[in-house]
């Protein structure tokens, strides 16, 4: 119980503090491998000839492309703060504003926005909410993500 309280205090100090921005190139091959991992054959993500005839003018990324990638480094840091605890993905809230196109550079900025403590039959658990914004090279907002992680 005391251990969780002191861990929670460490997390509370991080609330609202933005991590250093990270940069990601949107690459055709990466999109293809991402779509293959999901098993999603939609030609919008994989067929240049098909995609070039759509309103997008070329291949775009599936909805969750780079979403995880923008979260991972920041979440790994949170995990390292108490590595003996399990880290469980509680769920994701994603708002989409524009597609990611091949050749875009996406900047991601992550922060911890909330820490909650809950005590149940399993013991004390911490609920961490991480927020990430995704911006393209034109400074346009591409997506916004809020992900909940459970530490127990």
């Amino acid at each position: 119980m005391n251990e969780m309280i002191s861990i929670a205090e460490e997390f509370l100090k991080l609330i609202g503090v933005e991590a250093e921005p990270e940069f990601w190139e949107v690459e055709k091959g990466h999109i293809r491998r991402f779509a293959q991992a999901i098993g999603d054959p939609n030609p919008l993500w994989q067929d240049e000839e098909y995609a070039s005839k759509t309103r997008y003018g070329g291949i775009i990324a599936p909805p969750f492309f780079l979403i995880d990638t923008g979260l991972v480094k920041f979440v790994d840091r949170l995990v390292d703060m108490c590595p003996q605890k399990a880290n469980i993905n509680g769920g994701t809230e994603l708002d989409f504003y524009r597609p990611m196109k091949v050749g875009d550079t996406i900047t991601t900025v992550a922060k911890l926005s909330e820490v909650k403590e809950k005590t149940g039959k399993g013991g004390t658990m911490l609920f961490l909410t991480v927020e990430v914004i995704y911006i393209n090279q034109k400074g346009e907002l591409v997506a916004r993500c809020r992900n909940t992680f459970i530490r127990r």
Binding site: P62, F64, A86
Partner: protein, 151 residues
């Protein structure tokens, strides 16, 4: 993927076509590589069990992507996914059969744009909901197309 769906075609209560998935260890490795999510409980059984997981578990984001595929297949090339909110309700072990389903919950017009809200979920073979989600898509409307073509 079938032909383009229009706002006028949608009826609240409609079911989306079911999507079947079967994440194998290989698929989890492919996902880890493509997403950058390398947490050990998705490929190291000893570590997964040590941390209190029931075995090698499927990434929540991969299952969220299954639901994203379900909705993007349904909405067609002219649809726009505006929002998706997922909740991971229980662990899914690798090599399980997963049934991805959805139904139309709401349809509405806002500032001349046509929206549909769908409930989506991933079920296991026992019929238990493992991931639940809500998605909002903007759909093309035949009426809007007609007005647009008159301009």
């Amino acid at each position: 993927m079938s032909g383009q769906i229009y706002f006028e075609d949608v009826v609240v209560g409609d079911s989306l076509p079911t999507l079947m998935k079967h994440p194998t260890p290989r698929k989890l490795v492919m996902w880890a590589g493509a997403s950058g999510e390398f947490s050990e409980m998705h490929y190291d059984k000893d570590l997964a069990l040590q941390k209190g997981f029931p075995g090698i578990v499927v990434h929540g984001m991969l299952m969220a992507s299954f639901l994203a595929q379900l909705i993007t297949d349904w909405m067609g090339e002219r649809g726009d996914l505006k929002r998706i909110k997922t909740r991971n309700e229980q662990f899914v072990l690798v090599n399980e059969d997963l049934i991805c389903k959805g139904s139309v919950a709401k349809k509405y017009v806002e500032k001349n744009d046509h929206y549909v809200e769908c409930e989506l979920w991933v079920e296991n073979r026992k019929g238990e909901r493992c991931v639940s989600a809500t998605a909002i898509v903007k759909l093309p409307a035949r009426e809007a197309d007609r007005i647009g073509s008159k301009k």
